[in-house]
Symmetry: C2
Subunit: 201 residues, 2 copies
Amino acid sequence: MAGYYALPLELLAEEFARLPGIGIKTAHRLAYSVISRSDAEVQSFVDALLSAKRDIHFCSCCQNLTELEVCPICSDEERDQTTICVVESPKDVSALERSGEYHGVYHVLHGLISPIDGVTPENLHIRELLSRISKGSIQEVIMATNPTVEGDATAMYLAQLLEPLGVKVTRLAFGLPVGGTLEYADEVTLYKALENRTILH
Amino acid sequence: MAGYYALPLELLAEEFARLPGIGIKTAHRLAYSVISRSDAEVQSFVDALLSAKRDIHFCSCCQNLTELEVCPICSDEERDQTTICVVESPKDVSALERSGEYHGVYHVLHGLISPIDGVTPENLHIRELLSRISKGSIQEVIMATNPTVEGDATAMYLAQLLEPLGVKVTRLAFGLPVGGTLEYADEVTLYKALENRTILH
């Protein structure tokens, strides 16, 4: 497309196109929208970019992303600090928090074991989890990794690893999604829903 | 969503969400992707934003966006400098250039007359167009505004304005889009296609 657009606009569009899910057409639209904004608005965007990159790091306890030394969830004394929910990414923390049903704390692995992608247990924040549990106050660890091959494998690996530590290890329930239909459920989900059926009376 | 995410991440997501067509979920995904990039990559994004805002201005001749005093199309002596194609926005220049069929120059209005939105002829770059034509070397002005109410109104307004200057004024043809089907063409397009039918033999 070079030549039809001004070079700085083209370069900005290329930067937008590097973001996930942004195609070159959308990138051009976004680049146009930037130059039609005020200097102050663009500066505020730039400041937010630099600040997010500079100020965000891992919580020293749960490894979630935070701008503080210890994240607000870990330092919240109202929460049950004896239950750890192990998740793949900060997005999962956000999803579970939205449910409003969980009052314990988290541990973010920042990935799942996946030999195909070259991700081994050493690449995940497992050492920090073991160190938290070894301090002795943890009673239950909930494996809340995704119900995928990698999520299951990671949950199983961690369950084995935690066995000698004498801590209760649980896994999120599998079954039909609420609001879903039998017709569109896949075979494995149906199998899990049957296997884990609950008693009504 | 505040509280589940680190504040700088939340602020960055809000900035992304201000861009056109970016919802809050996508904005969070983009914000996450930024912090997983290297410092150099984020700096390069920031530089592109600042440079686009700082270096881009209107071509002193055609009013298209450019980082130069006169844009490459206006300063290209190979192009027919006696034919001006009048468009709404820089994106239209880009679209026409992609067709590869136009070898004249452009004039970008940066909007269309739209009293409902408070856009009057004074808000558009019409004075610069008149000044270019009054220099005497222009032979044809092609109205290439969109086939919408505003596009038609602007084309008609300009045609009237240019009449006393003795310059040929044309309008892009309306008809069926190539590759389209009669079945899905709207009534007005079909009417225009019939009205402007061409003789085969």
